[in-house]
Amino acid sequence: MSVKKKFKGLSDKAVAWLFIGPSVFLLLAINIYPLIYAIRMSFTNFYANKIGREPQFVGLKNYIKVLNKEAIWEKMQVTANFMFWTLLLQAVIGLGLALLLNRKFKGNELLTTLIVLPMMLSPAVVGVFWTYLYNPQVGLFNYVVNFFHDFGSFDMIGSSVLAPWSIVIVDTWMWTPFTMLICLAGLRSVPNYLYEAAEVDRASKWQQFIYITLPSVLPFLLLALLFRGIENFKMFDMVVELTSGGPGSATELASINLKREAFEKWKTGYSSAFAVILFVTIFGFGNVYVKVMNKIKER
């Protein structure tokens, strides 16, 4: 028997569409339409600042141009390097902190909140104030480093060797709490009876860690890294304000280059092709990653 007939007002079906409709419409208009528009533009020689000119269809020319450009591969390398180090550091430090916090000492809730603070801040504003900390003449960071070992004067942002590390340090400072929180949630989900059973079987603490703790927290860690990976692949705001891609193009991540092509040179067609390539890359990697993650979870 159908339940809805008994009650007054709109039918459940009408309510369902009324409730979902506006959200789906907005997502289509502001998210999907622009994406389709970008894909269409990627096959043309459109320049968004030249309003009068009709864009012409150029086929795959933009894509070929992007993929053949040496500089693009350099940006991809910079991005990959940034992602590798940030994810590695955030995984190790985040998991470490989570394991320590899971010891449930007094006051650990307050400390967790304080540790989380950096990730709540505006990345662009964080980028600005780190330029002050990294200042080669008066920066606190430089002072502290030189306090422990005197390297003399060095410029984290101005040197092409150090600049990639400057963004890795800031990103790690900001986002390690995220991996930490997800890992902590994972650790808290491990049922106590597993450890009790292990204790009965006389497993050592180390064995318990390797065979119980690590496997249960791993899926959570991998998930945190997926989120961070997607975010850092798109990374723009913090790095723009900190190094603006420099010096030269030492920290010019793919998305910073994309912004230059799209909003400074106004090569809309070309930059759309680049954007589509980036999107397909992240989507592809994301999919493979999720498959691997699920395999690990099943075991």
Binding site: F7, A16, F19, P34, E109, L121, V125, A275
Partner: protein, 314 residues
Amino acid sequence: MDTSRSYLEPSSFSKKLAATIIIVYTVITLIPISWMVMTSFKNVNSAISYPPEVFFEPSLEGYVNLFTNRSRQSQEYLDSLPPPENWYEELVRSREMVITGPSKFLGRYSNSMIIGFGSTFASVFLGALAAYAFSRFRVPLKDDLLFFILSTRMFPPIAVAVPIFIMYRKLGLGDTHLGMIILYTVVNLSLAVWLLKGFMDEIPKEYEEAAMIDGYSRLQAFFKVVLPQAMTGIAATAIFCMIFSWNEYAFAVLLTQFNAQTAPPFIPTIIGEGGLDWPAIGAGTTLFLLPVMIFTIILRKHLLRGITFGAVRK
């Protein structure tokens, strides 16, 4: 000796060690933020002294510089002026400058407020409606729709910024509050739907069914029974949406310029004479970050739950 301790509890030594390491990490991680707050109370000279000054004479110069525009004047001109009327004018005069008017900071800050609150309200409201429908009704292609909603978060903002820029120019929404509110609403919508669906799932169906048997329509039951029950979840979701809108930079810097620009693209442009005015930037940063920090500390339980939510529920 403490005999109540189960053998699963970590020993008190290992607890102390863990606590020590965590406290050291907390202190280190808070240094950059504290340093910026301290800088905001320094004067221009003490902000650029080396070695960095930990103890200094506090000054409100940074805050005065943040809120005013000033111009440098000759000593003769300053002497010819009537005496300063208030403390901040006196402070500026002591630097051989006069105040020429208020700066843009207050306008940018209130833009951040308007756009932040507007988009948060809209995305939580729309998100709650959609979340309820996904939670209670049999919606065709439900999983596909939910995944579609989530996948919109993967687009790099710059990939869609050009089409949105063109679209907004045509619709007259470019550089307007309404345009930015709509944009941030949509960006937040996917998170709002996902978070709120989890909270709605936890509210027993029987509540609204009981109300409907008492003669409420489905809509009345939703607004009068379900929404009040979901208040915790709504609060948590609202904080996330607010923090995102408050902190957002890429769209703001690309799509706004004069009218609807928010604070994050503005703060980096605060420039003093001969280089960046660090106390003023510190002051802007402090005022901008303060609401988020207070929110985080007050509402920590909701926030921490929200962050780990997606992961725990899968």
